[in-house]
């Protein structure tokens, strides 16, 4: 099986400081990879480099495109990369305000990607938007409301619908449950897990919440100081942490 995403020796520096360095891994179709670490460990920097929001200083991010096979997205042309970002990739921001157009109705938000790839039939766009709102448990009669009239959890679900509408194969998630209260978090996680499994999506989930990766991720990467300190199957890493930092991280979780 060829990996969907191959990352080789990614490095990003901010001047003399290290953002992240020496990160390599393969992500296979249908697999969910969790990246955990404390604030400043370089996990968000890594995600930005992978998703093309930031240019890494060194390394390769090879993505298996539908039409041209494996291509290095770091060196590919910008139009091609932005095209990927609208079609085969999705990016779920921690703050839904970063990923949504707050002045545009829910239907318009979901439809934007369809129109960006050439959808020009209003009826079809609206139908697809309604369908996706239902899939993320937003009532159909809210389709013409603006996201600013939605609760935080609904905004996050809307952001997910907006991203998944073009049928991406790879989803980047940056703290998808950050800023939500626990019961809403649980529902969102449940929804995400269902969508990921049903659609066979591959995903990279960055979070500092170990419960999120326990539920969503097949594999886990633990980062500290811009470097990967431990990798493995999620249950294996969380139940039998080898590296000192991972042990600290696991033991820091409050037990209720």
């Amino acid at each position: 099986m060829t990996p969907l995403l191959s990352v080789r020796d990614i490095e990003k520096r901010y001047g003399a400081r290290i953002g992240c360095t020496g990160v390599s891994f393969d992500l296979f179709p249908g697999e969910v990879m969790g990246i955990v670490g404390e604030s400043g460990s370089g996990k968000s920097t890594l995600l930005s480099c992978l998703a093309g929001h930031m240019a890494p200083d060194a390394g390769q991010v090879i993505f298996a495109t539908r039409d041209r096979g494996p291509v290095d997205t770091v060196t590919m042309s910008e139009p091609a990369r932005r095209m990927l970002a609208r079609t085969d990739w999705a990016f779920v921001h921690q703050n839904p305000r970063d990923g949504l157009r707050m002045g545009v109705s829910a239907g318009g938000n979901v439809g934007e990607r369809l129109m960006a790839v050439g959808g020009r039939h209003y009826g079809t766009i609206r139908e697809t938007a309604t369908d996706w709102l239902a899939r993320v448990e937003i009532a159909a009669d809210r389709i013409d409301d603006r996201p600013s009239q939605f609760s935080g959890g609904m905004q996050q679900r809307l952001q997910i619908a907006r991203n998944l509408v073009t049928g991406p194969r790879l989803v980047f998630m940056d703290e998808p449950t950050g800023g939500l209260d626990v019961s809403v978090q649980a529902r969102l996680l449940d929804l995400l897990r269902g969508l990921v499994r049903r659609l066979g999506l591959s995903a990279i989930v960055v979070t500092h919440d170990l419960a999120v990766v326990r539920l969503l991720a097949d594999r886990l990467m633990v980062m500290k100081g811009g470097r990967v300190v431990e990798t493995g199957l999620t249950d294996q890493v969380l139940d039998d942490p080898q590296h000192g930092y991972t042990q600290l991280l696991v033991s820091s979780v409050l037990q209720v």
Binding site: V104, G108, G111, M115, A116, G119, H121, I143, D144
Partner: protein
């Protein structure tokens, strides 16, 4: 003409700079060319961009017509016409067919334009994507990469909210299958006239410092959806003065008991028709 002014007010260096921007705009139809817009002796929003483009195009042999919302006799039109009469000494006219340069605010004349004529538009906001994407860096990138999905989001919102595309003016167009362009706030009734027009159409935005252009016979398509096609719209009446049924109309309130009349917004066209013997509901033959 007083000799205290350089011909057409602007100095020659400035006119040369503007002409270069115009030439570049003509070479890349629909592309917004930045230019070093000057302070003009009128406030922004009164046509400073259009005036600079007109000044750069004027020659002593030209005959100038200025219209504001189609009318030759409104404040803006009168003052700009006098401005050029004084600073350039050119002949002015109100007849569309006789003019070589027409500066216009938000209308295209009803009389079809011909080869050799130049129509100069006054543009308040040249960026069609501005209200959806406030970042200039991002809108430039979108033009560069032809990422125009967002423009349809605006039209989608219109249909979702009003049941049809409710944008009635400044209706976005696609130029030569490449650039999405704001045609300035002309009514969408005028949009079809942009397509394949034999005249040179120039657009000047003074405050925003942009010039763009449509050379003669350019392909201009109004954006729409397959199931909600573009429709030019006008008031569902005939002109009350000249009886024309195919012109863009202004609604004029005539008293405080609901009395109103509809008249051609293009005063020159209306007058010409009445002189030729046409009369509407309220108009006697002139």
């Amino acid at each position: 003409m007083t000799d205290d002014y350089n011909f057409a007010y602007l100095d020659e260096e400035t006119k040369r700079m503007i002409r270069r921007a115009i030439l570049k705009g003509v070479a890349i139809p629909g592309y917004q060319v930045p230019f070093a817009s000057r302070e003009m002796p009128m406030p922004y929003g009164w046509g400073t961009g259009g005036v600079q483009v007109t000044a750069a195009c004027l020659t002593p042999e030209d005959r100038l017509k200025v219209i504001d919302q189609g009318a030759d006799d409104t404040t803006n039109a009168v003052s700009i016409r006098k401005f050029f009469h004084r600073t350039a000494g050119v002949d002015t006219t109100e007849a569309t067919a006789e003019a070589t340069i027409i500066q216009t605010r938000h209308r295209i004349p009803e009389t079809p334009l011909a080869e050799g004529q130049i129509l100069v538009f006054q543009v308040p906001i040249p960026e069609p994507l501005r209200f959806l994407e406030p970042r200039e860096t991002e809108t430039r990138k979108m033009h560069e990469l032809e990422e125009y999905g967002l423009m349809h989001v605006k039209l989608y919102e219109d249909i979702a909210r009003h049941g049809r595309i409710a944008t009635a003016y400044a209706y976005p167009v696609l130029v030569e299958d490449r650039y999405v362009m704001d045609p300035s706030p002309i009514p969408k009734f005028d949009n079809p006239k942009l397509d394949d027009n034999p005249a040179i159409l120039l657009f000047g935005a003074g405050r925003e410092q942009r010039i763009y252009a449509l050379p003669p016979y350019t392909k201009v398509v109004s954006l729409d959806f397959e199931d909600h096609p573009f429709e030019p719209s006008k008031a569902d009446h005939d002109c009350d003065l000249c009886g024309a049924s195919d012109t863009y109309l202004d609604e004029v309130i005539t008293d405080d008991r609901g009395g109103r009349m509809f008249v051609c917004s293009d005063t020159d066209h209306c007058r010409t028709r009445r002189a030729a013997g046409h009369a509407g509901r309220l108009g006697a033959v002139a």
